[in-house]
C-alpha cells in the first residue's frame, strides 16, 4: 500500500538547540529530541530558536556555537538526521533592515525564507508594513502557527491579505491534535481545507510527549489527502531549506 511507504520528513520549526531559548534545556534533551525525530522518519530538521528585535546578534551568535556543538554530538552519537540552522523571529518594526544586515535570520542563512512569529494576542499595527518590506526585499516570510492567532481563530480568511501577497503559512502538527484547544484546531483545519496552509512543522520544545510530525502527517492525510500532506511535510520544506535547487543530495 502506497500510504505505508516511509516518508522522509523535513521539520522546519523546532527548538532543539540546547539552552538557547525555552526549548531543549541541555545537550542531552536535544539529542533525545533528535533521536526520536529520526525514528519517526524526520531526515532533516531546522533549529529555529526564538529571536527578538532587541537581541538578534547575541542570540544568533550563541545559536551558531550551540548549533556547531550539536552537529558534532549528533554525528558522534550516530543519529541519522541532518540539522540546519534558522530562527523563529518575533515580528518587529524594521525587521527587513535587520535581515539585510544579518542573513542568519533566514532559514539556513539562505536569505530566501524567514520564519516569523506574531504576538500571540493580536496582529500588531506594524505587521502589514514589516511583512511588505520583507517581501519587496526578496525574503519570503513564513508565518509560524497562524492558527493560534486570535484574529485567525475568529476568521481564518484574515490570513488572505498575507497569503495573497506571497506569505507562507506554517501549521503546527500539535494544533491538529488539539494541543492548543479546540478553536485552534478548528482554525488549523479551516486553513488546510481551504488550501491556505503551505507547511507543517512540529514546533518541538521538549523531548518526548509532544505531538510529532509523523502523527500530524497522519491527521493531515485524513484532512487533505496524501498528496497534499506530502507537499506540506516534504516538498514545501525541502524547497525552503534549498534542497531542490542545490540538488546536493
Amino acid at each position: 500500500m502506497a500510504s505505508s511507504e516511509p516518508v522522509n520528513f523535513i521539520d522546519i520549526h523546532t527548538h532543539i538547540l540546547p539552552g538557547i531559548d525555552d526549548g531543549a534545556k541541555d545537550m542531552d534533551e536535544s539529542l533525545r529530541i533528535l533521536r526520536d525525530a529520526s525514528k519517526a522518519g524526520v531526515k532533516r530538521i531546522v533549529a529555529t530558536p526564538h529571536v527578538f528585535m532587541e537581541n538578534i546578534s547575541a542570540v544568533l551568535d550563541a545559536a551558531e556555537k550551540s548549533f556547531a556543538t550539536l552537529k558534532i554530538e549528533t554525528a558522534r552519537q550516530g543519529i541519522d538526521i541532518e540539522i540546519f540552522l534558522g530562527a523563529e523571529v518575533s515580528l518587529g518594526a524594521g525587521l527587513a533592515e535587520e535581515v539585510k544586515k544579518d542573513s542568519r535570520l533566514t532559514i539556513g542563512g539562505g536569505g530566501k525564507y524567514i520564519l516569523v512569529e506574531m504576538p500571540f494576542f493580536e496582529i500588531p499595527i506594524y505587521a502589514g508594513k514589516t511583512i511588505f518590506d520583507l517581501l519587496v526585499s526578496g525574503v519570503t516570510p513564513i508565518w509560524a502557527h497562524p492558527e493560534r492567532c486570535p484574529e485567525v481563530i475568529d476568521n481564518f480568511n484574515s490570513v488572505c491579505a498575507y497569503t495573497d501577497n506571497g506569505v507562507k503559512l506554517q501549521i503546527n502538527s500539535g494544533s491538529l491534535a488539539g494541543k492548543y484547544g479546540r478553536s485552534v484546531k478548528r482554525a488549523a483545519v479551516n486553513l488546510i481545507e481551504n488550501g491556505l496552509a503551505h507547511i507543517m512543522a512540529s514546533d518541538t520544545h521538549r523531548a518526548g510527549g509532544d505531538e510529532t510530525l509523523l502523527k500530524g502527517f497522519i491527521r493531515l492525510e485524513e484532512i487533505c489527502g496524501r498528496g497534499k500532506a506530502l507537499g506540506m511535510c516534504v516538498s514545501a520544506p525541502s524547497e525552503i531549506i534549498g534542497l531542490n535547487k542545490d540538488n546536493n543530495n
Partner: protein, 726 residues
C-alpha cells in the same frame, strides 16, 4: 460570532451574573423555607340534571331550571357565578368560625421590638386572630402567599360537569373542613334556589287542600241528603253534560289560580336574582317599556283567552284548539327573540346567565297576564251555563246544583292532591341534581403534593428566574456601559493609533519585566508596544515621551516603568521622571529613597545630578517626585521644568515622563507639548468613551504629538492564550 460575543460579555461580567443569580435564588429558596406552609384540600362535585325530576316538573307545568336534560354552559356559569358563591362562603365562615392570624401579629412576631412600638402608638397588640369575611375567603391575593390564610377557589374541572372546590389553609384539617363545608352549603343553596320555583304552588296547595276536602265532603253529604229526602234517582244526559262543562270551567279557574301563584313565585325568584346584579337593573326596566314586547304580550294574552273559550267547546285534539296553541307557541318565540334584541343592542355585555333569566321572566309575565285574563273571562261563561241549568224543573235544577258542587269540589280536591304528590316528588328528585363525588380529605403533613410552597418546584423556578435575571442584568449593564474595553473599542477612535494591549495580570504575577522569566507574556506585550511606537514614529527618533491616562490608576506608572526597562535592556540610556506630583506611582516599582526627587531640585537646593537615581537596572535612571508640595501644578508648568527636560534629552537616549491623568490636571497637556510625543494608557472597562473623545480633541488642539493608546488589563476570551506560555 454573535453567540461568542455574548458569551464573552457574560464571562467578563460573570460576577454580576453570579451575584444576581445568587441573590434571586437565595431569596426564593430561603423565603420558601421561612414561609409557613399551607395545605390544599379539594372536594369534587358533579352537576347533573335529573331527567326524572325534569319530566315531573314539565308534567305539572313547572320548569325546573332550563328544562333540558344535559347541562349547557349557561347552567355551569350559573353555578359558578359569584353571586351564588358569596352566600355560601358566608355560611361556611359562620359555621366553621374561620379565623386568620392578623397581619400585625405576624409582623410583630417577625420583627422583634415592633410590639412595644405598636402598643405605644395605640394599636391593639393582644388580639392575634380576626374572623374572616366571605370576600377574604374567596380572594387569593398575592399577600396571601406571604401571609397564608384560609381561602377557597371554585373551578370547573376541564370541560366537564365537575366542579372542584379547593380550600387552602395553614392547617390541613381546616382545609378539609372548609372544602367539605363549602360543598355542603353549595348544594343546600342550590336546592333552596330550585325549591323556590315550587314554593308558590306548594303554598297554594297547602292553603287550599283542607278547605277543598271539606267542601268536597260537604257537597257529597248534601247530595246524599237531597237524594234521601226527595227520592230523586238520576239526571238525564243533557243535564249531566251541562254540569260537566260548568265543573270543567270552575276547575280551570282553580288551575289558573294555582298557575298564577306559581308564576308569581317564579317571577319574584328571578327578579330577586336579577336585583343582586346591579348592572342589569337598567335593562330590566327597558324590558318593561319596550312597545314591541308590550304588544306581543297583549297578543299572547288574547290568544290565551280564546284558548280558554275554545277549550269549553272542543276537546284538546280539536283543530281549533291546536291552532291556537300553535299561535301561542309562535308568539312566545317572537317575544323571546325581541327580548334578545333589546339586550343584544342596548346592553354592552349580557352574559348567558342573565339572558336566560330575562327570557324566562318575559314568558312568565306573559303567562301571568294570560292566566289572569282567562280568570276574568271564565266566570261569565260559567254564568251562561248556569242560566241554562236554571231553566230546568226545580227539583232537577236543585239536584243538578248539588251534583255540580260534588263534581267541582271532587275535581279540585283530586287535582290538588295530585299536585301535592308531584311537587313532593320533584323536590325529592331535585336533591340529586348536584352531589359530592369526592369529599375532601385531610392532606398529610409533609406530603409534598398538597403542601405549598414546594421547595423543589420553587428551587427550579428560582434557578430559571435567577439565570434569566442575572444574564439580563449583565447584558443591560453591557448595553449602557460606555467604557472602553476591547482593542476594537480603541481602534474605533478616528485619528488614534492603537499601540497594543496588556492583559490583566494575576495578583501573584511580577509587575516588572526585569523581574520575570524570559517567556513571561508581559515582555511580549511591552515588546509589541515598543515595536508599534517605533513603527508610528518611523524615521524620527523619539527623545522624550509623556505617559498619561484619562483618570487615576489606569496603570501609567506600571507601563512607564516597563517601557523604560525594555528600552534600557536594548542598550539605551533611559530616564524616567515621575511628574505625577499628586499621586506618585513610579516609586512603587523601584526601591529608592522617596524624599529625594524633582521637588528637591525645583524648589530645594539639590543639584540636578544628585536627583538622578540609579535604578539598579543597567542603563535606567530615575527622578522621583520628591516631597509633595501643596500646589503641584505651578511647579510643573515652569520654565525650570521645561529646561530640565531639554537638558535630560541631551544626556539620555530616551526620557519617559509619568504625568498626572488628563482629567485631573493640565500637567499632561503642558508636559506633552514639551516632549516628542504622548502615549495614553486606558484601563479596560474604566475610561469612558465620551471622556476619551474629549481628551483626543484636547491633545489635537494643544498640538501634541499623540503617539497612540495602550489598552491595559484586557479581559476576555483572548486572555486565555496567555496561559499557553505558562
Amino acid at each position: 460570532m454573535e453567540l461568542k460575543h455574548i458569551l464573552d460579555i457574560l464571562w467578563r461580567r460573570k460576577w454580576l451574573v453570579i451575584n444576581n443569580f445568587a441573590a434571586i435564588f437565595l431569596t426564593i429558596v430561603i423565603g420558601t423555607l421561612l414561609i409557613p406552609p399551607w395545605y390544599d384540600s379539594t372536594a369534587r362535585m358533579l352537576l347533573r340534571k335529573s331527567s326524572a325530576s325534569s319530566s315531573v316538573l314539565a308534567s305539572i307545568g313547572l320548569s325546573g331550571g332550563s328544562g333540558s336534560v344535559t347541562l349547557d354552559e349557561t347552567d355551569r356559569a350559573d353555578y359558578l357565578a359569584l353571586s351564588t358563591l358569596r352566600p355560601v362562603a358566608e355560611k361556611v365562615v359562620s359555621e366553621l368560625n374561620v379565623k386568620r392570624v392578623r397581619t400585625r401579629t405576624r409582623l410583630m412576631n417577625a420583627v422583634p421590638g415592633l410590639k412595644p412600638v405598636l402598643r405605644f402608638v395605640g394599636v391593639d397588640v393582644n388580639a392575634t386572630e380576626e374572623v374572616m369575611t366571605a370576600e377574604d375567603l374567596l380572594d387569593s391575593s398575592l399577600t396571601s402567599f406571604i401571609f397564608p390564610r384560609p381561602y377557597v377557589s371554585v373551578e370547573q374541572y376541564e370541560e366537564t360537569n365537575i366542579i372542584d372546590i379547593e380550600a387552602i389553609s395553614p392547617d390541613p384539617e381546616q382545609a378539609m373542613r372548609i372544602a367539605n363545608a363549602m360543598a355542603k352549603n353549595f348544594i343546600d343553596e342550590e336546592l333552596k334556589r330550585v325549591r323556590e320555583d315550587y314554593a308558590g304552588a306548594k303554598e297554594f296547595i297547602d292553603n287550599n287542600i283542607v278547605k277543598a276536602k271539606h267542601e268536597y265532603l260537604d257537597a257529597l253529604n248534601a247530595t246524599k241528603d237531597f237524594k234521601e229526602r226527595e227520592k230523586f234517582a238520576n239526571l238525564d244526559s243533557e243535564t249531566i253534560n251541562i254540569i260537566q262543562k260548568i265543573s270543567d270551567l270552575k276547575k280551570s279557574i282553580e288551575d289558573n289560580k294555582l298557575a298564577i301563584y306559581k308564576t308569581k313565585a317564579s317571577i319574584n325568584n328571578i327578579e330577586s336574582q336579577l336585583k343582586s346584579i346591579p348592572k342589569y337593573q337598567k335593562s330590566s326596566e327597558q324590558l318593561k317599556d319596550n312597545e314591541m314586547i308590550l304588544s306581543l304580550k297583549m297578543t299572547l294574552r288574547d290568544l290565551y283567552l280564546s284558548l280558554a273559550e275554545t277549550r269549553t267547546k272542543y276537546t284538546k285534539d280539536h283543530p281549533s284548539v291546536m291552532d291556537i296553541e300553535n299561535k301561542i307557541a309562535q308568539t312566545k318565540e317572537l317575544l323571546q327573540k325581541e327580548m334578545g334584541k333589546v339586550f343584544g343592542s342596548e346592553t354592552v355585555s349580557i352574559d348567558a346567565v342573565y339572558q336566560n333569566l330575562t327570557e324566562k321572566l318575559a314568558v312568565y309575565y306573559a303567562d301571568l297576564s294570560g292566566y289572569e285574563s282567562q280568570n276574568k273571562a271564565l266566570p261569565s261563561i260559567i254564568t251562561r251555563y248556569e242560566a241554562d241549568m236554571m231553566k230546568l224543573p226545580k227539583q232537577v235544577s236543585d239536584y243538578s246544583n248539588l251534583q255540580l258542587a260534588v263534581t267541582v269540589t271532587q275535581d279540585i280536591y283530586n287535582s290538588l292532591l295530585k299536585y301535592q304528590y308531584q311537587i313532593g316528588m320533584a323536590e325529592s328528585t331535585a336533591l340529586s341534581n348536584i352531589y359530592v363525588v369526592e369529599p375532601a380529605i385531610t392532606p398529610k403533613i409533609g406530603s409534598s403534593k398538597h403542601k405549598t410552597p414546594n421547595l423543589l418546584l420553587n428551587a427550579l423556578f428560582a434557578i430559571m428566574l435567577g439565570a434569566t435575571f442575572g444574564i439580563s442584568v449583565a447584558l443591560f449593564v453591557e448595553y449602557i456601559d460606555d467604557t472602553i474595553k476591547t482593542p476594537e473599542d480603541v481602534r474605533a477612535f478616528k485619528g488614534l493609533t492603537f499601540l497594543g494591549s496588556i492583559f490583566n495580570l494575576k495578583k501573584k504575577d511580577p509587575r516588572l519585566i526585569s523581574m520575570s522569566d524570559p517567556r513571561f507574556p508581559l515582555r511580549e506585550f511591552i515588546r509589541t508596544i515598543r515595536n508599534s511606537i517605533k513603527f508610528t514614529s518611523l524615521d524620527k527618533t523619539l527623545k522624550s515621551i509623556t505617559i498619561t491616562s484619562s483618570i487615576d490608576q489606569e496603570g501609567k506608572s506600571f507601563f512607564a516603568a516597563n517601557l523604560a526597562i525594555s528600552a534600557a535592556n536594548e542598550g539605551k540610556k533611559v530616564l524616567i521622571i515621575d511628574c505625577d506630583l499628586r499621586r506618585p506611582g513610579i516609586n512603587n516599582y523601584f526601591n529608592l529613597p522617596k524624599n529625594l526627587g524633582l521637588t528637591s531640585y525645583m524648589v530645594g537646593d539639590q543639584e540636578l545630578k544628585d536627583i538622578q537615581l540609579k535604578s539598579g537596572i543597567e542603563g535606567l535612571s530615575i527622578i522621583l517626585t520628591g516631597p509633595i508640595p501643596p500646589d503641584p501644578g505651578k511647579l510643573v508648568e515652569s520654565n525650570k521644568m521645561h529646561n530640565l527636560i531639554k537638558d535630560m534629552e541631551m544626556i539620555y537616549d530616551l526620557v519617559i515622563i509619568d504625568t498626572p491623568p488628563v482629567l485631573a490636571a493640565s500637567d499632561a497637556i503642558v508636559l506633552g507639548g514639551w516632549t516628542d510625543g504622548s502615549i495614553i494608557l486606558i484601563q479596560s472597562g474604566r475610561a469612558s468613551r465620551s471622556h476619551f473623545s474629549d481628551i483626543i480633541e484636547t491633545f489635537k488642539r494643544a498640538n501634541i504629538n499623540l503617539i497612540g493608546a495602550v489598552l491595559n488589563r484586557v479581559h476576555g476570551r483572548t486572555a486565555s492564550y496567555y496561559y499557553y506560555y505558562k
